[in-house]
């Protein structure tokens, strides 16, 4: 029974959204070759367009696509193996490859039993042996099914540059033998932390784009949220996944109030809180409550808890800064990073005054990990200004201006330097 063109288009779009990662993960696990797997999955989607129009959309589009993709992949590998060896092959239902064949294949572990193939793929893309830009690009490409062209656009590089980045990452996976399998029990906390870190990096890149003219790239934010929801579905007991989701929800709840109509940055103390998404904040609150139960909550749960203290406050002035400092103390234990210490200093300034906080920031300035981090001089400028030391504040604002590469933030800092104050304040 034929299906209408628009029904099929919708079904394909849905399947692309929901099933891409599953289909790719299954195919990659079968062929152990990421490039072949990708091509076969793409071809399967193309085949679906014709077949579903002719025969109707199948009950289980994911299963249909997986079968077709895997069948194609087996054919490709067989053809290549045949080309290499002059001995006719025995036709095997499962493709096996000789151990000493110098093929660039990815490692798989036949022994791990995973309910959802996507998990293996996510851990592969986010392996700490890959550079952060490679992790993000690979996750968007292989798990989210985003085209190389779209990924390039989101990271403001040329399509060929992004293509090269993806190729290099896949080469590293094959040559260094990064395995497509679930991390073991001892590795899991670090490896999960790496996955959450990649997703969070995607979110922050979209939420406060580090370069380019607009403050946000909503497509990256959406993919980060989508990935976190997938992870939540796949690992429902993990508190840190809950924590990440809560953090993204509460941060994104402020999306519409962060940027003025003219694209200018609006700071937290000036944002219109009535525009914040109350439903998202409530959901985040529930997740954080669950996450804080039990011993030693992790970094994402604690970051979310801090964000929620802000979100729960009716105004900037009414914020419970004592609670925030307490949470930062815990966070610093779970995550001894100078950036955390810097943010804690801002909270400390609200409780103990700018002079105490300034001393903390000056201590942090010499930390080599913060070199080139424009928030250091920006925060210092604020503290100096509240102490009436305007000349020193100006020097710091100028330094911050030199360091930031995001246009909207530059405009904000530039306005400060010129003494006008940002619109919205």
């Amino acid at each position: 029974m034929r299906a209408s063109a628009s029904e099929v288009e919708q079904a394909i779009a849905d399947a692309h959204r929901r099933e891409w990662a599953t289909v790719l993960a299954s195919t990659a696990y079968t062929t152990r070759d990421l490039d072949v797997a990708e091509e076969c999955v793409q071809e399967a989607f193309v085949a679906a367009l014709e077949a579903w129009t002719r025969d109707g959309v199948p009950n289980s589009p994911g299963a249909w696509l997986t079968t077709v993709a895997k069948r194609r992949a087996v054919d490709v590998v067989r053809r290549e193996v045949t080309l290499r060896s002059k001995i006719p092959l025995l036709v095997e239902p499962e493709v096996t490859v000789e151990a000493d064949e110098r093929r660039e294949l990815i490692q798989t572990d036949a022994e791990d039993d995973v309910k959802d193939e996507r998990l293996r793929l996510i851990f592969l893309c986010c392996h700490p042996a890959l550079a952060p830009e490679a992790q993000m690009a690979l996750t968007l490409r292989l798990v989210c099914g985003m085209s190389t062209e779209d990924i390039a656009r989101l990271f403001l590089v040329s399509e060929s540059a992004m293509g090269a980045r993806l190729t290099r990452a896949k080469q590293k996976i094959a040559t260094a033998r990064i395995a497509l399998r679930m991390p073991g029990e001892t590795e899991m906390p670090d490896r999960l932390g790496a996955v959450l870190g990649v997703i969070y990096l995607l979110f922050t890149t979209g939420h406060t784009a580090t370069s380019g003219s607009s403050l946000m790239r909503p497509e990256l934010v959406d993919e980060a949220l989508h990935l976190t929801n997938v992870l939540r579905e796949l690992m429902p007991e993990e508190r840190e996944v809950r924590g990440l989701l809560a953090l993204l929800l509460v941060t994104d709840a402020r999306r519409s109030s962060r940027v003025g109509d003219d694209g200018a940055l609006v700071r937290l103390d000036a944002q219109d809180r009535s525009q914040w998404d109350g439903l998202a904040i409530a959901h985040a609150g529930q997740l954080v409550e669950e996450g804080l139960r039990g011993a030693r909550p992790g970094r994402f749960v604690l970051q979310a808890a801090i964000a929620l203290v802000h979100a729960a406050s009716p105004s900037f002035e009414a914020t419970d800064w004592h609670e925030i400092v307490r949470l930062y103390d815990d966070l610093l234990v779970a995550w001894p990073s100078p950036v955390v210490a810097l943010n804690r200093a801002v909270a400390v300034s609200k409780v103990d005054g700018p002079l105490v906080a300034l001393a903390l920031v000056e201590e942090l300035e010499s930390d080599p990990r913060l070199t080139g981090y424009h928030y250091v001089p920006a925060i210092k400028a604020d503290l100096l200004r509240s102490l009436g030391r305007t000349d020193e504040a100006l020097v710091e604002s100028e330094r911050a201006l030199e360091l930031t590469r995001n246009e909207a933030e530059r405009a904000f800092l530039d306005a400060q330097v010129r003494g006008r104050g940002a619109r919205g304040e």
Binding site: Q107, H127, A129, T175, A176, R177, I178, A179, P183, E187
Partner: protein, 118 residues
């Protein structure tokens, strides 16, 4: 199974720390452990970089190849099934908590011949 090189890097020390040979003892124990586990293929500790000589083209110069704050102290070839396993082994090298670090690189090819008379 594949072969990986574990390259040991250590900061250049201008004065040998007097620790009564404790650091060296750790390396010897680690070497025994790797051999016992069957992971080790070969291991070499190198003399200090001060007795290194480098060649670029035809030009011979005194000293290590790169002017850096850390230099290669030794290397070890191991066998592991994948990168995670190699990283796990490499991470246990005592150099990691003695102020240095390791680089893990897949080996493309290798040979340790048995030589007549040796």
């Amino acid at each position: 199974m594949a072969e990986y090189a574990i390259l040991l890097y250590a900061p250049i020390v201008h004065e040998e720390a007097d620790d009564g040979g404790a650091a060296r003892a750790e390396h010897e124990q680690h070497s025994k452990d790797l051999q016992h586990d069957g992971a080790m293929i070969a291991a070499f500790a190198l003399e200090p970089h001060t007795v290194s000589t480098s060649i670029r083209g035809d030009v011979i110069t005194d000293g290590p190849f790169l002017e850096t704050k850390e230099v290669i102290a030794g290397f070890c070839i191991i066998e592991a099934s994948d990168l995670d396993e190699a990283l796990k082994i490499a991470g246990t090298n005592p150099i990691c908590h003695q102020g240095g670090g390791v680089e893990v690189r897949p080996v493309e090819d290798w040979v340790i011949p048995t030589r007549p008379g040796h």
